[in-house]
C-alpha cells in the first residue's frame, strides 16, 4: 500500500428525492506514471490508481478507468441522482492491489 493515501469526498448532507447532486472526490496518491526515471536513469515503476467506482445503495453511478495521464492526487467531479436516502460507496483501485474505500450517507429531506 502506498504511504499516506487519504480519500476525501464531498457529498451534500441531504437532498430532495430525485435530486441531482454534485459529488467531488480527491485522493492523495502520487500516480507514478512509469515514464519517469530516477537520478541513476532507471525507470521508476508505474503505480497509479487504475479504476474508480461510485455506487449508491448497490446501484452504479460512475465507473472510471484511469490511465497514467491522470494527475497526481486524482480529482474527480461528477453528479448523481438521489432517488432515496442511502449510502454512497466510493472505491479507488490501486495498481498494487489495494482498494481504498470511503462511505457517505445522505438523507432525503
Amino acid at each position: 500500500m502506498a504511504s499516506a493515501v487519504k480519500p476525501r469526498v464531498k457529498v451534500p448532507k441531504s437532498a430532495a428525492a430525485g435530486d441531482v447532486i454534485t459529488i467531488k472526490t480527491l485522493i492523495s496518491h502520487k500516480m507514478e506514471s512509469g515514464l519517469r526515471k530516477d537520478k541513476q536513469g532507471n525507470p521508476i515503476p508505474r503505480q497509479i490508481i487504475n479504476r474508480f467506482t461510485c455506487d449508491f445503495n448497490g446501484q452504479n453511478v460512475i465507473d472510471i478507468t484511469l490511465e497514467p495521464a491522470i494527475s497526481t492526487n486524482p480529482y474527480i467531479q461528477f453528479s448523481a441522482k438521489v432517488p432515496e436516502a442511502g449510502e454512497f460507496v466510493f472505491k479507488w483501485f490501486d495498481d498494487d492491489g489495494s482498494v481504498y474505500e470511503e462511505r457517505k450517507t445522505i438523507a432525503v429531506a
Partner: protein
C-alpha cells in the same frame, strides 16, 4: 565487406521498416479511437469538452466534459506518449453525463473526447491546449 544483391535488398527493407516505425507510433491515437468505437463512424458535435486554452503546467490540466445521452466517454490526449487518458462509464444513477478531471499533458496538443451514445452511435469533441511545461517526466 561485400554485399550480395540479396543482402542489400534485406538491409534496405530493414531500413524502410525502421523509418516507418515512428509513424506507427503516431497512429496509436487512431488505434485508441478504434478500440473504443470498434471502427464505427464518429460524428463531431453533441459533446462539450472544456479545457484551458493555455495550460501553464502540463502536470495538472483541469478538463471537463458534458455529453448528454452518453453511456461512456473516452478522453484521448493526442500528443501524449500513451494517448489514452480515461474512460468514464455512466451507471443508471448518474445525474447527468458530465465529469471533471485533472490530467497530464506532455506538450501542446489536441485533447479529444469521444462519447458512446445509448443508441450505439459515437460523437466527439476536440480542444487544442497549449502547454508551457510538459507533464510526463522524462
Amino acid at each position: 565487406m561485400e554485399f550480395t544483391r540479396r543482402e542489400t535488398l534485406a538491409i534496405g527493407a530493414g531500413a524502410a521498416a525502421l523509418a516507418v516505425l515512428p509513424i506507427r507510433g503516431m497512429a496509436s491515437v487512431d488505434e485508441e479511437i478504434a478500440d473504443f468505437t470498434g471502427g464505427a463512424e464518429v460524428v463531431e458535435g453533441g459533446v462539450t469538452l472544456t479545457a484551458p486554452e493555455i495550460a501553464e503546467n502540463g502536470n495538472t490540466v483541469p478538463i471537463s466534459f458534458d455529453a448528454p445521452g452518453a453511456v461512456a466517454v473516452r478522453i484521448i490526449a493526442t500528443g501524449n506518449p500513451s494517448p489514452k487518458v480515461a474512460t468514464v462509464n455512466f451507471g443508471p444513477l448518474a445525474g447527468n453525463q458530465s465529469c471533471a478531471l485533472r490530467i497530464r499533458l506532455a506538450r501542446t496538443q489536441d485533447v479529444l473526447a469521444i462519447a458512446k451514445m445509448a443508441d450505439g452511435s459515437f460523437k466527439s469533441a476536440k480542444v487544442a491546449v497549449k502547454v508551457t511545461i510538459g507533464g510526463c517526466g522524462g
